[in-house]
Amino acid sequence: MTAPLTLAPAWRVVGHAVVALLCLSVLVPMLVVFGTAFKPPNEVYQLQPWPSAPTLDNFAALLGEKRFGLYLWNSVATVTIRVVAQVVIALLAAYAFARWDFPFREPLFVLVLAGMMVPPQLTMIPLYMLMADLDWFDTWAALIIPHLAMPYATFLLRQHLMAIPKELYESARIDGAGSWRALWDIVVPNLGPALAAVCIVLSIDGWNEYFWPMLMSTEPSSRTVQIGLREFVEEDFGNYGVLMAGVTLASLPILGLFFAFQRHIVETFVSSGVKG
């Protein structure tokens, strides 16, 4: 595949310079953060990003006195449960829209999609009051349940479902399979990449969430990684080495996930953002 457009050499140089600079603005801070996380306390303020004698002390302090292990656990558990539930619920809804024709299907679809456009600001006050009434502060339920409906995922999955040929459903029916069996035995295996991409996007959103977990957390034991990091800043900002270790731990899981599934994510962001 050749490039679609060739620019004049002068523009190419400028282009490389600008983009390289931007890339440096991404990579250098990352390097500094990562390097500082492994630095002993006396080296933290030095300019050179990498430690002369790497140490894991910062991570030990993080997981020990800073209880970051608990925050990590909260994040991992709530995000995992939440993403699985979100995907299943969205998939079932997408299946309904794609496979059947029923009264009010179009208006219902619009209603579901419109749910996507309601900004969180508009629902936060009553939801907060609801959480208070249910006494769900500091619970996993508060972090998981209000966010289970993800119309965007339904929209995306429906696109892919509609691309599945009728013949597949037909053959399932002939074999005597009900819609449930057809869904799991035939449809889902064909949805692999789309499902993976949706999972990853939802995971990123869940893991990096700040606003709602901040509202819901009143005591340390219920904090997620992001809230834990924020509280760290309030409590002990000067402790840079350990802070950077915290930043590292808060970012690594998603970065790792990304590099493992790189292609799917890029395709999803790209195909969903514009074509829709």
């Binding site: 523009w11 931007l22 303020y45 600001q121 907060y128 966010h147």
Partner: protein, 314 residues
Amino acid sequence: MGASRPEALVLSPSTEEGRRARRFPPWTAPALYLAPMVVLLALFTYWPLIHTVWLSVVKWSLVPGRPSVFVGADNFAAVVASPLFEAAAWNTALYLVASIPLKVILPIPIAVFLWSLGPRGHVYRTVLFLPTLISFVVVSVVVLWLLNPMGGHVPTLLRMVGIAMGNPLTDAHAAIWVVIGLSAWKVMGFHVLIYLAGLASIPRDNIEAMRIDGASDWQVLRDLIWPLLAPTTLFVLISTIIFTLQQTFTPIDILTEGGPQNGTTNLFYLVYQLAMRSFDVGQGAAGTVMLFAGLLVLIWAKFRLLDRRVEYDR
């Protein structure tokens, strides 16, 4: 739009579903599949939405048992009269106006450049995309640290070349630019990706044809690429307007909490403070409704303009 859609099930009585179907209407199955999503949306999206609107026009009673009193526009008036409102409104305008060149325009030449590189541009693309994966919390914490006058890398490096730099985060006028810059940096890669997708759908033949006619780079860009990118640009523009206020919440909360002297607060942050800090539910709801009304206008504008633009190009 239903060309490739499977028809409604015709169930034969020999299948179990067929037997069940004779007792239930045909929409039972889809209704069941749809139920969780619809119920959840009703409970956690639509009901709170209606409740917020109701809260904005009543004086909500904290005493259980005593009904809330309808007060019409009082809450709205109180929000506008709030000393924070003016600062928040001005800042909101600045956030939006400054975000547009940085987040909507700037990614375009970058995307075009990467597109011109073909597969060799993938490395750049991936690196630029990385900020999308890390949280605003992480970015804010790192910025806080890098800019710290005591030991932060930026002041240290600048001091080495003789520039003494105060902490922009404590300057009432400069602080907002830190937030703006931070949020532009974070979404750059994502927007570049969206533009790349838009560029990918530009037919090469048209470019070839223009080249054969002797068109220069600039002409191809201006006459072919820019118009064809218009729907994408509009999409990014409206998304930026809608999401900038929300996205800047985290940096504001972590870096400055709206200060210094209301230098970084915006309408969304103001609403948050009214509702969650002062616990003035009525004002918080009113502020939210006003914000939402503004967003609705923008969303409506998006669809109107987008439809019209797309028609021109087809």
